[in-house]
């Protein structure tokens, strides 16, 4: 019986290099707490991240961590899960990683519905390259690459995911750690592709979408007693409404996962016997006589 772990057991010795006050600290703390609460063991967690400030998170979680190329965390994570269903697979990245360079993979991960969790750390800017506009930056956001104001409309990642057939959508705010822990736990427990978008303010470059701004501009969908996360049109409605940003579990349903539809056995592929010379190999030659 493996020991019961605490969030500290998921910490690495590597110091984190985010700016003091960065929203990403809240995401990392919540993830550690969620994993400990769920009784996970570091050896059974595969944590895949992309590139950017957010991508650095994989270096700070004691697990089998994979810090790949920009925008491609989801294909890696999907394959890790297909290859080894025993692992708890979590991918993480920022708004740029997930909704710009990796947007194509985002849509396809949603429609495939592998049983993995995707944490999008949304700071509405490109932090690591010193504050350019991102796909979630507000129109008019002034940056080095958009000195006259960002001309593009921000993408609504969760609404896009819902349209593509997402089976679990949640949004949190990194200054609300308790809620982010609960959302993360619910996401990991969800059988299917679960998205947790966490509003994670950039204290250095984004002077518009600050902690104070968020506090004025967010609400939890379950504040309304009749909110039903199983109601897809209701979810569309709150996601597309102008005004305050909805948080909480916005949508959840159950549909078959990629693994179950792929006719795969449950044995991790790495444990299949490939060393023995199967008699079935030779038999296959008969088709070519």
């Amino acid at each position: 019986m493996a020991a019961v772990l605490t969030p500290k057991d998921f910490a690495t010795a590597t110091p984190s290099w985010w700016c003091p006050g960065c929203g990403d600290y809240g995401v990392l703390s919540a993830l550690k707490a969620a994993l400990a609460d769920l009784g996970m063991q570091p050896k059974d967690v595969a944590f895949i991240s992309g590139i950017g400030c957010s991508g650095k998170i994989s270096g700070y979680l004691h697990s089998y961590a994979f810090h790949g190329v920009h925008g491609r965390a989801l294909p890696v994570a999907t394959a890790v899960k297909l290859a080894n269903r025993d692992l708890t697979v979590i991918a993480a990245g920022g708004d740029g990683d997930g909704y710009a360079i990796g947007a194509g993979h985002f849509l396809h991960a949603v429609r495939r519905n592998p049983n993995i969790t995707y944490i999008v750390m949304d700071n509405q800017t490109y932090g690591l390259t010193k504050g350019q506009s991102s796909p979630t930056s507000q129109t008019g956001y002034v940056t080095g690459t958009s000195p006259q104001g960002n001309p593009d409309a921000p993408i609504n990642g969760l609404a896009v995911a819902l349209a593509a057939g997402a089976s679990f959508l949640a949004r949190g705010f990194s200054a609300h750690p308790k809620q982010v822990v609960e959302l993360t736990k619910a996401a990991i427990k969800h059988e299917g592709f679960s998205i947790v978008e966490v509003m994670s303010p950039c204290v250095t470059y984004n002077k518009i979408n600050t902690y104070a701004w968020f506090k004025e501009n967010i609400y939890y969908v379950n504040e309304a007693p009749d909110y039903d996360p199983g109601d897809r049109s209701h979810a569309f409605d709150v996601l597309s409404r102008e005004g305050k940003i909805p948080l909480g579990i916005i949508y959840q349903d159950s549909r078959a996962t990629l693994e179950s539809l792929s006719h795969l056995g449950t044995t991790p592929l790495a444990q299949l016997d490939i060393v023995s010379r199967s008699p079935a190999y030779a038999a296959m030659q008969e088709a070519y006589r």
């Binding site: 994979f66 810090h67 294909p75 890790v80 790495a270």
Partner: protein, 588 residues
């Protein structure tokens, strides 16, 4: 009378069923004990457009196309006009004159014309125009002396899955074709004959089949790919067969995803691969660099086609060699293997997986359209020659803190744990990292890590597939080549020998790390060196020149029209430069 040496070109419109009939002809030749090579010359579309299927039969294993087409089976005038000049003097044409006659200006007098109203017979006598292909097989069979019972057996096998009626129509079509020849052309022999031998313990398969089969036997249980000509067959082959062995083949949303999936799967310890062609290869470049720095074993099958950009998707070329060897930002250890035959496509694919895992780096298997989509006869594959060598895979628990995923070792290869192994938790980062996987920009660590990773290129040397030296190793004429050119070079060698001219031929099987010592040794004593390759710039020739220095009599024999070499295109320059002493043209 030409015996047991014939090249048939089956030409018509794409989608008219000529593929099935071409396969039948190849099958009959094989069953009659001949060696077969096929080449598909299709347009990049599904229906319409001129298409042809070349079937070469001879008594020589691993030969490719012949100098000329011996027999053109033409279903329309377009096929005649497009290929008449490729016909050997003394050859013959089977022409379907149902809808149009041969205009006088088109006729060549040095070939025999067999004009048969194939479509008319098909429609009026057999009630199905589609069987005109099968009638032409009957005509061909009678003209060159195919074994009639083998023809019937293979036609039955091909059509028995369809209805009883369709099978009957096709069997009657064979009969109709044979009878037409007996009635109308009894006085006009074709000049070609077949003498049946034993089929023996042989197979006939496409290069891409051999690659898929090799991957499966090597233990590949995860494939991700994106459809692209001419590599799609590998994904389809794996999708059909790997699930039975517990594995999976995934069609990704693009090549970026495919290669990243392969990395993810390989990270968990399963043997994983992708297959692509030039455009997809270009997209995969960044992630292949990641595989190099993460020291993850991945196998990438590259089925080369004519580039750049879309190029000619269904045509052959060897212009991706530079890309496989040099592409990417930064430097990584990598291996490029290149089979020259369908048979070697199988064995080198098995080798690729073992090398990838032993040296924890990307390994490419480089094929090309004229090999990967070509069928050829080969001896039964010897599975006892295959084995699975897993290198330093570590599946037992390790002590966290002591275990270092990127530990410095003498051969540069570190013990590799996979997720789930107790104590092995680490970060696999594309950022430069230390032996424990921790990201660092230390200058000292950077040097040591580069030395470790790149050092694998040297420690793997003895493990790499060796070149094959063909012909007379002392001959003054030396030839370098690889891939599908093995066929025409092999034939050139044999025919030069018959003409009293000795030559040696270095067939590369490993192209990277470049076999420098072997190349240097091979050119010892050579007076004329020829490098044969399908590209404009002489990518292989430059690599050789880089190793051996400028040689006075080094000739690039290249072709870049999307078609494979015919042996005469290799024999001619050898005679011109080496025997007639024509001064070499210097292009650069």
């Amino acid at each position: 009378m030409v015996v047991n040496d014939i090249e048939i070109m089956f030409g018509g419109q794409a989608g008219d069923g000529s593929l099935t009939t071409g396969d039948l002809i190849a099958g009959v030749f094989k069953r009659m004990g001949l060696e077969v090579y096929t080449y598909k010359d299709f347009p990049s579309r599904i229906r319409g457009g001129h298409t042809n299927y070349v079937i070469r039969a001879s008594e020589h294993p691993n030969w490719g196309m012949a100098d000329f087409v011996d027999c053109l089976v033409a279903f329309d005038l377009e096929a005649v006009e497009a290929h008449l000049d490729e016909l050997r003097p003394g050859g013959f044409i089977i022409f379907d004159n149902s809808s149009e006659p041969i205009p006088d200006g088109v006729r060549r007098s040095d070939v025999t014309w067999y004009e048969v109203p194939l479509a008319k017979i098909a429609k009026s006598d057999l009630g199905l125009e589609l069987v005109r292909n099968t009638i032409s097989l009957g005509v061909l069979s009678a003209l060159i002396g195919m074994d009639r019972s083998i023809v019937r057996e293979l036609v039955s096998n091909a059509y028995k899955r369809k209805s009883e009626k369709v099978l009957d129509q096709n069997l009657r079509a064979i009969e109709a074709g044979e009878q037409y020849v007996e009635r109308h052309f009894a006085e006009w022999p074709s000049g070609y004959a077949l003498r049946a031998g034993a089929d023996g313990d042989r197979l006939i398969m496409m290069g891409n089949d051999a690659i898929g089969y090799g991957a499966l036997v090597a233990g590949c249980r995860f494939m991700a790919g994106y459809p692209i000509t001419p590599a799609t067959d590998v994904l389809e082959w794996m999708a059909k067969h790997v699930p039975r062995f517990g594995g999976i083949a995934v069609q990704a949303e693009d090549e970026l995803s495919a290669i990243n999936m392969v990395l993810g799967a390989a990270f968990t310890g399963v043997r994983a691969m992708t297959a692509t062609s030039g455009p997809g290869q270009a997209l995969m470049t960044e992630a292949i660099g990641l595989a190099g720095v993460l020291e993850i074993p991945v196998v990438v099958i590259e089925c080369a086609r004519t580039g750049p950009s879309t190029g000619m998707p269904t045509k052959t070329e060897q212009s991706n060699l530079n890309h496989l060897i040099f592409s990417g930002h930064g430097e990584i250890p990598r291996v490029v293997l290149a089979p020259g035959t369908v048979e070697d496509s199988f064995y080198l694919t098995v080798d690729a997986f073992n090398l990838a895992e032993k040296y924890q780096c990307p390994v490419f298997v480089l094929s090309e359209q004229a090999l990967c989509q070509s069928k050829a006869t080969l001896p039964s594959l010897d599975l006892s020659r295959t084995s699975v060598e897993r290198g330093k895979l570590q599946t037992e628990p390790v002590v966290f803190g002591e275990y270092k995923r990127f530990a410095f070792t003498a051969d540069g290869v570190s013990p590799r744990v996979i997720p789930g192994v107790e104590g092995g938790m680490h970060l696999a980062a594309g950022s430069e990292h230390n032996d424990a996987g921790v990201i660092t920009e230390s200058a000292l660590n950077r040097r040591r890590m580069m030395d470790k990773r790149m050092g694998k290129m040297e420690s793997m040397r003895d493990d790499l597939p060796k070149p094959i030296i063909h012909g007379d190793p002392q001959a003054e004429i030396a030839i370098f080549g690889y891939g599908s050119n093995r066929g025409p070079i092999g034939e050139a060698l044999e025919r030069l020998w018959q003409a009293g001219i000795a030559a040696r031929f270095f067939e590369f099987r490993t192209l990277w790390p470049f076999p420098e010592a072997e190349v240097r040794a091979f050119v010892e004593g050579a007076v004329h060196v020829f490098v044969v390759e399908n590209n404009y710039t002489g990518q292989l020739e430059r690599l050789i020149r880089y190793v051996v220095g400028p040689l006075e009599h080094m000739h690039l024999v290249n072709k870049y029209d999307g078609r494979p070499f015919r042996p005469i295109e290799i024999i001619d320059p050898i005679e011109k430069y080496a025997l007639l002493r024509v001064p070499m043209e210097v292009r650069r």
